[in-house]
């Protein structure tokens, strides 16, 4: 059984990768794509952590706070390393939307989607995003 400490370690590994992937990517969307892919890869390798990240987070306040802190630092990383980052609330909503959509898929299915299926979901949501045009 994964403890909250193990889950935090998984998130720390994801963040360590994100610190390299996001600044190095050609666009903010590509950076976020690689970071989310790294996150899902990490969670898939640790099914208990995946359960905490997508399911228990909506019922356990401690897990929720842990995930929330991780999301906040990821969003700070995006805003501080990418001049082309979207407005902060859009980035937050996009991450939330991807998480909520994957959560629904995981909660509905007997098995979490494999990396390719999950990739199709988050890549679609991420690259379909269009920043509003300024009038």
């Amino acid at each position: 059984m994964t403890t909250i400490t193990d889950y935090q370690r998984s998130l720390d590994r994801v963040f360590a990768q994100s610190r390299e992937l996001i600044p190095a990517a050609p666009t903010w969307q590509a950076g976020l794509y690689h970071a989310i892919r790294a996150c899902y890869t990490e969670m898939s390798a640790h099914p208990d952590a995946l359960h905490l990240h997508f399911i228990a987070t909506s019922t356990d306040p401690l897990v929720q706070r842990t995930r929330s802190r991780h999301r906040a630092r990821l969003l700070r990383l995006l805003q501080t390393t990418r001049a082309d980052a979207p407005v902060p609330l859009h980035a937050e909503l996009l991450l939330n939307q991807i998480h909520a959509t994957l959560r629904e898929q995981i909660a509905d299915g007997h098995e979490p989607p494999d990396l390719d299926a999950a990739d199709q979901t988050f890549a679609t949501l991420l690259f379909d995003y269009r920043a509003p045009t300024v009038a």
């Binding site: 909506s58 019922t59 356990d60 306040p61 929720q64 929330s68 407005v87 609330l89 859009h90 937050e92 909503l93 996009l94 939330n96 939307q97 991807i98 998480h99 909520a100 959509t101 959560r103 629904e104 898929q105 509905d108 979901t121 679609t124 949501l125 379909d128 995003y129 269009r130 920043a131 509003p132």
Partner: protein, 232 residues
């Protein structure tokens, strides 16, 4: 209403968190002795006082610290009166959550109905939602944050409310659209908005939610305007 009680049927009507300190004695207690009020009125008044006291207690002392004794004392009723109205804490929470979530859903649904022909329906519905949550931060905290401590039935009730919002969005966004919005897409968008609300409410920033309207609306609109390949 003949007394200055927060209306549980309208979470935006009052702001108990602003109006009273959590430790203040409850001020909606009816006069004792003969007062000429109907039994029905007294029972409704007691129910409302208990639910408001329960929300205040959970906000101040947490779920575990909100004993029936503490809530009853705060509401100015006896334990016996509490148990005449509710079977216990879980039941009181279920009724509190039910009253507040029903009222919130009704307000957004009313806005959606009133904007049936309005191209700006999404913005107006989001505005209603944000204003409702922001104007009742105490109730928002109890329903959005403390729900996770209130047990599986409460969490199931929250999830049903979110599904109701997702269904409303899916139906409304599909009107006149070339392709209907997939249920999964609606659930993802509602989940995204809920997380934003959760974070603001949990960090004591609920009253700033209406400031997010422009960016929230432009994001949601971009999702509805996007191609719709995400399917359930």
């Amino acid at each position: 209403m003949g007394y200055d009680a927060p209306s549980m049927s309208d979470p935006t009507a009052t702001m108990p968190g602003r109006r009273r300190k959590p430790t203040a004695p409850h001020d909606q207690q009816l006069p004792s002795g003969r007062h000429g009020l109907s039994r029905e009125f007294v029972v409704a008044n007691q129910r409302e006082r208990i639910l408001v006291a329960f929300a205040e207690s959970v906000a101040a002392y947490g779920w575990a610290g909100s004993s029936v004794e503490r809530v009853a004392a705060r509401a100015g009723v006896s334990r016996r009166t509490f148990y005449e109205q509710f079977s216990g804490k879980d039941d009181a929470y279920a009724q509190l959550f039910g009253d507040l979530s029903d009222a919130l859903v009704a307000r957004v649904r009313a806005t959606a109905a009133a904007t049936a022909e309005d191209p700006d329906w999404l913005r107006r519905c989001l505005r209603t939602l944000l204003l409702a949550v922001a104007s009742a931060p105490l109730f928002a905290r109890v329903c959005v944050v403390d729900v996770m401590s209130a047990g599986p039935d409460a969490i199931a009730a929250r999830d049903r409310t979110l599904r109701t919002f997702a269904q409303m969005l899916q139906e409304r966004a599909s009107v006149g659209a070339e392709r209907p919005l997939a249920p999964l897409a609606a659930e993802g968008l509602v989940g995204a908005i809920y997380d934003v609300i959760y974070n603001r409410v949990a960090s004591g920033q609920a009253e700033e939610l209406p400031d997010l309207l422009d960016d929230l609306h432009s994001f949601c609109q971009s999702v509805l305007d996007a191609p719709r390949p995400i399917r359930s």
